[in-house]
Amino acid sequence: MMAIDDDMLMAFVDGELDEVSRARVERAVAEDSALQARLEQQQRLRDRLATHYGPTLEEAVPERFRAMLETNVVPFPAAAPRPARPLWQALTALAATLLLGLMVGRTLLAPAAGPFAVENGTMVASGALAEALETRLASAQPRDAATRIGVTFARNDGRPCRTFDSQAAAGIACRTGDRWQVMMTAAGAGPQGGDYRQAGSENLLVQQAAQEMMAGEAYDDAAERRARDSGWRSTAHRR
């Protein structure tokens, strides 16, 4: 008979085995007292945890939690009706205007690559901004980076998005195909390098718009790294 290893024993105790495997473990345990002792040890552990944490379920829930839920006046629909268009959409229009200015400026003045470009009628990040969005981790960026990455998060449609901030502009870009589509922009951080730019003071408009677009929570360091290392794949298919 095949040996029953610890993993299988644990899966048995956790109720993760199918009928056939269950029966096999039961037979093996009946014939092998050492195995039975190991199984009992696993069951004791489960029981001990259940005995220790179980009574919490019977305790009265502190009043403050109940109060939090009961007084949770939903702020958006009631007190302040949300704008018909989400903030970031309104700002996309603004971004288009800004882009027009940038394009005119570029045509007239310098051929140098700016942070934005238009491809197939869509505004996308280019140059140093595209590079930063593509490769940089917020947790590991140089203090004096010209373009800073803020938060990374997934939109409702699963596309990864990132906020950025630089002297020229701040904003949000979301991954579309192999490009970073600029969803909104706002005024940049202004002159840098001095002491007066506080760490972490991201553009408020951008933050607010990011909150609105976000599905779930912003990525932590590990999730950000995973997203980058996976080539910024959309997470939609995993849901």
Binding site: D7, L45, E59
Partner: protein
Amino acid sequence: MQAFERELLTLLPRLRRFARALARDAADADDLLQVALERALKARAQWAPGTRLDAWMMRILRNCWIDEVRSRARRARTFAPAEEGESVGVDTQHEVEAKAEMHAVDRAMASLSPEQREVIALVLVEGLAYKEAAELLDIPIGTLTSRLTRGRQALAQMLEAA
């Protein structure tokens, strides 16, 4: 109260138990639950009705806990004395007393790594299926089961010895 709050209310006892399994003690657990509830109420628009509120809420609670664990680790690094090794790793008198008062199970759980502790809390305390727990933590099943195995071995060793 709307459906969202009503359903959260019914989940509170379970969430408290989950918080107990993660946090150091009952007081820390309730603080953790409070932070998680605040975050959930702020983010309620992000919960899709029809999906499981318990899993959504447990994920938030777990993330709040991880934030706390990380910032505690940061604080510990920041305030560590310059003479490395002199008193690093030695508990203060207060911590020694606090540990002595802890229940054996709390003590054993506290000695696990955060990664082991959260899988033990989800599977052994909350009774989630492997698949559910792996999804909630966004890790592969294989990673989950190996953390579960190691966490269990450590717990069994400590509790059986006691």
